[in-house]
């Protein structure tokens, strides 16, 4: 059973062909290529860019594959961008008389550690339940992944996403955009020292929600008052404040739920320091943590959407009224 999947939730035009958990082809037309020549994740919106690239990306993904179903991301994301993928999916479904499968982008990130290459690696069995975290520039969500396609949201950010907070700190340090890689590198140069102990937001609250805007404010004020602090220690301390909050909240979630198996997906998990902190935490609770096995899977991509769709297809969960399928920009799990 082969599925063509499409994701245009934000700045990437992506398509893939998957069979079960195996990715047969995966194409991401990064709009970085259009907008900036220097790399990095640049969420320059570009509806027209999606429209211009989508046929090319789908053709490249399809090649000679004969497919059985078509899957598409319905949300969350940028409305005008989501529309392009959905419109194309509908068009193809009608043209080739295939059933449509709708996928939530966050489900994709939750399944991302289980996505395999064309040879079926990595071999990972499902051992439900998992505590799943999606940490990216646009999301910070805590989910109990109870069984296939069965989720319960137990916490989320109330304002900024974790990746966004780091990007904005970089901006305040005049380090441009995107901030993640630069901050990670500067922090690594000073061995992730935490010289300034910026406030850890929401740690005292008893729930599993995050809030990073207060941290942003105190960082802003600190920089206003102190002009000559070393940039590497500033970057490192800020990163530690964000990561420490994530880890402490995760620890709280482990204690509350009694689940010590973790899944972490989303762009921020490209950060090796954060991966190490998660490993330390799960070791402490005799658990395990799974990250996406391949780098492209932490960013936005269609392969993870296709893998979710294959579990939906197995259970015959299809879009009933294809004409009425519409984007849901704030789609919740």
């Amino acid at each position: 059973m082969k599925i063509l999947s499409i994701d245009t939730s934000c700045d990437e035009t992506a398509a893939a062909v998957v069979e079960g958990r195996r990715v047969l082809s995966n194409v991401i037309y990064s709009q970085i290529l259009i907008h900036k020549k220097w790399g990095g994740v640049v969420p320059s919106l570009a509806k027209r860019a999606h429209e211009e690239r989508i046929d090319l990306v789908i053709d490249e993904a399809l090649k000679k594959n004969k497919i059985d179903y078509i899957a598409v991301t319905q949300g969350p994301g940028l409305a005008v961008a989501l529309e392009v993928g959905i419109k194309k999916a509908k068009e193809l479904a009608e043209k080739y008389d295939k059933k449509l499968i709708s996928v939530n982008h966050l489900e994709g990130h939750i399944y991302s550690p289980f996505v395999q290459n064309s040879r079926g690696n990595p071999v990972r069995e499902f051992h439900f339940p998992y505590l799943a975290l999606v940490i990216s520039g646009g999301h910070t969500e805590f989910v109990i992944f109870k069984n296939h396609l069965d989720y319960e949201i137990i916490g989320a950010t109330l304002d900024d996403a974790a990746g966004e907070a780091i990007d904005k700190a970089a901006k305040l340090l005049n380090l441009g955009y995107p901030g993640g890689p630069v901050i990670e590198k500067l922090a690594g140069d000073v061995k992730n020292i935490d010289s300034y102990r910026f406030p850890r937001p929401m740690l005292k609250s008893n729930d599993l929600n995050f809030s990073f805007s207060g941290l942003k404010t105190s960082f802003y004020y600190f920089l206003k008052k102190n002009h000559n602090e070393p940039i590497k220690e500033l970057a490192s301390s800020f990163q530690e404040a964000v990561f420490d909050t994530i880890i402490k909240k995760t620890e709280k979630a482990i204690k509350k739920s009694g689940i010590n198996r973790l899944i972490v997906g989303g762009g921020v998990i490209a950060n090796l320091r954060l991966r190490q902190l998660f490993r330390n935490l799960t070791n402490q609770y005799q658990g395990e943590v799974l990250f996406p096995a391949y780098k492209y899977l932490s960013g936005d991509n269609a392969a993870m959407i296709g893998v979710v769709a294959s579990y939906k297809a197995e259970r015959k969960i299809f879009v009933e009224n294809e004409e009425e399928l519409d984007r849901i920009p704030r789609f919740s799990l």
């Binding site: 860019a49 969350p76 441009g176 805007s213």
Partner: protein, 346 residues
């Protein structure tokens, strides 16, 4: 093509020879802090063209340059005092810094936006070479486009077809390089969007509020918003204020009065929609053309409510908003860590 081995003992001679090759517009394979690089005189267009041909690189894709020091860096790109202060803390180092080009190098190396990537690294052979050459060189890796980089001359010779090898004038061999990661890009260029300036908004008849907490800001937003809810025209709130001042808090307050309780920052996706309530964040807008893709005029219908964080970046669409909607300008300022001054202008 000649191959010269470079060591601590003979480097001044080898560098002298390398400078001569560069001066003649030659293509040089040279070691660096990361991988083997391809060096040509960055100011010599013919040499740059040769390099682009060698790499099979599509034209229009930018190529970074090595500089020997801050003096050379400042001669190539536009840099302000704050940026210079920050850069002095991280350079020399394994970064590629992107800034507005002064047009001193071949335009083929610049991006479409006329920016240039500069590298000031911690690597003696490159720095000494640049010092004696006195001009920037290209700093691209010595692999063909979409092929892996090289850490040794052997792997490079094995990989490159003869036709490519024949294009090279000199190979400087420093042995096997340590497997350092590629440089990190620091893009310091400013956005190219029209900002709403003070003079564009008449603040003479504005209302000023002071808020002592996020709760108070929310309450204020609810109150201000309720005055406008009944109008027939679309509403556009333009919110201006620095990072962390509480713009999202203000939007949350207004949204709550409509029963929308799940507002989060839309920075990453530019905007989220909640029925007829649209929450924009223009923070990431880098280029004025991006407004076209947002199709904002399509949203300016009676009953629709649009909130714009980083609204000062809406200069491009300010007149459109004013002609079709009731525009409420909200300026938020820090008084101290807790207190905010909120100025509202209809």
């Amino acid at each position: 093509m000649s191959i010269k081995r470079i060591t601590e003992n003979n480097y001044s001679q080898v560098l002298h020879y390398t400078v001569e090759v560069l001066k003649k517009g030659g293509l040089v394979i040279f070691p660096s802090d990361t991988v083997y690089g391809l060096l040509v005189d960055a100011t010599n267009e013919k040499a740059v063209k040769k390099l682009i041909e060698f790499k099979d690189r599509s034209p229009g894709k930018a190529i970074s340059v090595f500089v020997s020091d801050f003096k050379m860096l400042k001669n190539l790109v536009v840099i302000n005092n704050i940026q210079e202060k920050r850069l002095k803390e991280i350079l020399p180092g394994s970064f590629t810094v992107v800034l507005k080009s002064r047009g001193k190098v071949s335009f083929l190396l610049e991006s479409e936006k006329k920016t240039l990537g500069v590298r000031l690294i911690k690597y003696k052979f490159v720095n000494s070479l640049l010092k004696s050459f006195g001009k920037p060189t290209t700093a691209t890796s010595a692999n063909l486009t979409n092929r892996p980089s090289h850490y040794s001359i052997e792997s490079l010779q094995k990989e490159l077809p003869k036709k490519k090898l024949d294009m090279i004038d000199l190979i400087v061999d420093a042995g096997k390089l340590p497997r350092n990661k590629p440089s990190t890009v620091v893009d310091m260029t400013e956005a190219d969007v029209k900002i709403i300036r003070k003079g564009d908004v008449d603040f003479s008849n504005s209302q000023v509020f002071n808020s002592g907490s996020p709760q108070e800001t929310k309450k204020m937003a609810r109150k201000i918003f309720s005055d406008f809810k009944k109008t027939k025209k679309p509403l556009a709130f333009i919110i201006e204020g620095e990072l962390g001042v509480g713009k999202t808090v203000f939007v949350k307050g207004a949204a709550e009065s409509l029963g929308i309780n799940n507002i989060v920052s839309p920075t990453f996706v530019i905007y989220y929609e909640y029925g007829n309530f649209y929450h924009f964040d223009l923070y990431q807008i880098e280029d004025k053309n991006e407004f076209k893709y947002l199709e904002i005029d399509r949203l300016l219908k009676p009953g629709n409510i649009l909130f714009f964080e980083w609204g000062e970046k809406a200069g491009e669409i300010y007149n459109l908003l004013k002609s079709k909607a009731i525009v409420i300008y909200v300026k938020m300022e820090y008084i101290n860590e807790k207190k905010r001054k909120i100025t509202i202008k209809l």
